[in-house]
Amino acid sequence: MLVTGASGMLGRGVARALSDRGDRVTVLQRRPAGLGLPEVLTDISDGAAVRTAVSNQDAVIHLAAKVNVVGPEAEYERINVHGTRAVVNACLTAGVRRLVHVSSPSVAHAGSSLIGHGAHPADPVAARGPYARSKAAAELIALDGDSAELAVVAVRPHVVWGPGDTQLVARVVDRARRGRLPFIGSGAALVDTTYVDNAVEALTAALDHCVDARGQALVVTNGEPRPVAELIAAMCRAAGVPEPSWRVPVGLARAGGTVVESLWTLTQGLRRGRTDDDPPLTRFLVEQLSTAHWFDQRLARQVLQWQPRVSLDDGFAELQRWYTHGGSAAPVDPR
């Protein structure tokens, strides 16, 4: 098996889980992941290198992506779109049987509230921001590769977090420690998240049920949406930092001008990748922080024969243990 993008929290988790259960795993990313597994170090858009890595593999889990909210659009295009095309082409050429493409729920919506939504088709035109647009195109490319020889399934985990998460959790904790973390609006918007172990298990399940699930896009979450303020407060408590105590009204935040760092879109693709500079607060980010995002999990659970094993509260307890036992309290500086 080949796991691309194994340097992020989710990618590492998947690679380890597969290797722990006895699969022969190779990982592919730009820098060494330090997992003690065979590695291919390359840029995902390098077609020839990817072809070489894929040959002789039975299955591929493709996580490599550019996840930040900032950066030139061409970079997203190159890594997310061309990278995915390289992987799909390589799979087809090499006769790989199964491809699990890791996508994002943001590929199918335009920034409004999502209340109990299923997985609608990816829409690069409606998707908001370069990340979501490029991931939408990538998902369409991946699913287009589904064919008699290659079974492709797209899995869209929503907001993955857990111990060692440099994206959402570390950022929240860091801002909260510096007193720079506000709530936007009432903080009551219901938001789905996915504890990392559950996301890992959903991806391995997708690998195992790839043939039954082929051609589909499935949203994966814990199925336990919570008000966004509760989620952030729980992360702060787990890390032992003060909970946010101030509030920015939606109207004010939306009116713009103020530059407030965001938690949300920054981390939309938080499965792997790098952290660059925080973007300013945009209208889109305000919408994301003040509107509901939660999903209909029935299809994913049925097709993948998977259930989230770790509850949200158990996840927070795990996070707290991690911080207590020397988990790095500061965000890991990727550079």
């Binding site: 509230s113 009551a188 008000p227």
Partner: protein, 878 residues
Amino acid sequence: MINRLLVAPGIVAEVMRMPGVNPVWSRLVPAIDSAGEPRTWHVLDNGVAPDVGTLLCVHGNPTWSYLWRRFLSGADPGWRVVAVDQLGMGYSERPNLPRTLASRIDDLDAITSELGIAGPVVLAAHDWGGPISLGWAERHLDQMAGLILTNTGVAVPLDADPPILIRLARSRVLRELVCARTKTFIRAAAALSWPQIPGEVRRALRAPYSSSQRRRAVAEFVADIPLEAGHPSRVVLDDIASRLGELGGVPTLLLWGPRDPVFTQRYLRDLQRRLPHADVHRYARASHLVMEDAPHAAEDAWMWMRSNLTTPARGPGSERPAPERALDRQPAPGPTLLRSVGVAAGSDDCPAIAELGRGETQVISFAGLRDRVGALADGLRRVGVRPGHRIALLVPPGLDLTTTVYACWQSGAVIVVADAGLGWRRMADSLRSADPDYLIGIPAAVAAAAAFQLPGVRVVAGEVPRHLRQRLGIQHSMEELVTAGNGSAFLDASRGNLDPGSAQSSEAAVLFTSGATGPPKGVVYRHQQLLAQLEQVRALCDVNPDDRLVAAFAPFALYGPALGIGAVVPRMDVTKPGTLTAARLADAAAAINATLVFASPAALRNVVATSAELTAEQLSALARIRLVLSAGAPVSVTLLRSLREILPRAELHTPYGMTEALPLTDISLSELEEAGSGNGVCVGRPLPGVQIQISPLDPLGVAAGPPDPSLEVSGEICVSAAHVKDRYDRLWATEKASSRDPGWHRSGDVGHLDRAGRLWVEGRLMHVITTADGPLTPVGVEQRIEAKSPVTGAAVVGVGPRGTQQVVAIVVPQTRAAVGLASHQLASAVRAAAEVRVAAVLVVGALPVDIRHAAKIDRQRLARWAERVLAGARAGRP
């Protein structure tokens, strides 16, 4: 042909793009009109071969066939559905000359024969489409398999004041202005609805009337309303109306929007009088455009056709018997409620009713009551009350109410009782739905009836100054009727019994539900059902002649005389159960040495809360009480235990039931203690003669299957007993749904039977939460939260789409907190207590409850609020 059309080419495409229209329905059909001219009609036609029959839909003014789109989309197999645009209307051709009623009937004939409509036909008509299609129906009696009329009429009174819009439209100049030159009339027709019809539908409704040229027929249609005696269409309309009896054998359904200012309830009453076999469904919130305001009307109509048109083909001359009407039946011999008044009484001199007022106590003996009832019944007959007439009663419990109820029954009338606890507006809406012939009320109620323009001859129970009587439209007073009756030959109770109107099978009462989950519904009882209820109460209380009753619970308060025992009404406002204090209960008990108490849970809560004020004398009066019956809402063990302290000898019983069937089960305090906690409220075992089964919930929370005797399965509670309601009043579809399993009434409550045969109530069917893990009923979770977390009240609701809902707990904390998200501590405590996954915990100051019982939580309202809050919206309070 096309050049004759005054419409732009491409009209079909325009219709095809409209919401709810299947593009293949729209058709242009050439035919020869009533004047022999070739014309082009536009129709919506599903084009299905009419193996079963044809549903022909005729619109009125100023609408078009679009109004019937749901009748097409929801059609049963084997049905051709055709909705015609009348000439000059919709997308049909605009002829040069105005049409009249007669020519429109001919035109309809022309287009139906062109369309090849043969074989059985069900006609559906709205507004002025009614007279036109009835004219057609009278010509095609052999084809008529069914008739569906919605907000229409055939009897335009000469004396009545037509609504302002129609009056404006009567003057030629104004008519041009209102109907043709401006869009006033077109817009007004769609503006009658509240809540508003969606914009895209309103645009579709007025799309064919975009220019004054295209609106010409709208004005002409108004001009053709025969408001005057000499109007040319008058004779045609009168002929249609007079021949309506010929449709007596045709199954008929009247679908009605009571908020229509044009076709008001008087038209419904007139149609019911002419078509007494008709089934009726009133959509309480619908206005003139019933099918828009009640989108499920089409579905209901199809359900009605399925249940009523089992033999679609009807040869000429064959007779279809009309459904049997109760009032046509021969009276069956047997006891009535009335007879029990006299028979059971130990002694004529015994007090029958005592009424505790401010300082004074009014008492009447059984003999006195019987005389007064007889006199009033006779007085009512003298002013025209006949068996089957409906009499609305707006009199608080006490001597006058008891007298009036039994007098109504003695005269064969049907009492209509709405709860003042509903508030004036909802009470008025309820009474109007029952369309009473008479209304008896205390002065304030009669004044309200005048203000709300309630129908019915007004009789005042009390004193009203003469000048006000006229202004309030009061025709009689109760005392006048009693006096008039007194002068006549003495009427004894047994003579009343011989009155056919009082026989067992005739209707006795229309009672209203509390409206906790929608507009209050009228529930019709026949005498035999009320008698069965009386016997249930008698058995439940083991009534013996020495008993005396404190009647603080309206439904049963009236049964004192029928049980043959004296009753006392305590000093309280029955609309506010909280006005019954411990002292007032004790004073009432002392007044007649009471042994029984009927009171609502809310009243008993207040009795416990005020028990500190009791004197030794009052305590000893309460110590004589041997039984307390409290129904209407669950009663907590804590409350019952506190009650036992002030009512030491009393057995405490809390029967379960509803307006449609009461009582069904019973449980005492000791049995409640024995049952312990479980999923829901334990309401005990079914009473003798009562059968209870469960229709299990499917994963989407629907109780689709038949009643099932399985234990430990959650589902809709279904009941079968002699004292279950006869039917819902003028709610054909609701009745059909509630009684779809023959012999069973679906209660709308969810619950389960345990292994000991006890029933547990888990909430309302419409409050079931449908999570991805399956359905979840709210009451059990609420009880756990209330028991194990620092809250005084909790409601559990679902947010999100059915089948994938999230659970939200809405709580009233013991210590005041801001409305909105609960604190971390509170949320954690509630989540731990709930034992199910709770997405969010929200705080409110108080839970919205119904007025009657102050106990039924409006979870739908809370769910809507929670959904707004948790979408991130600013939502205020629920």
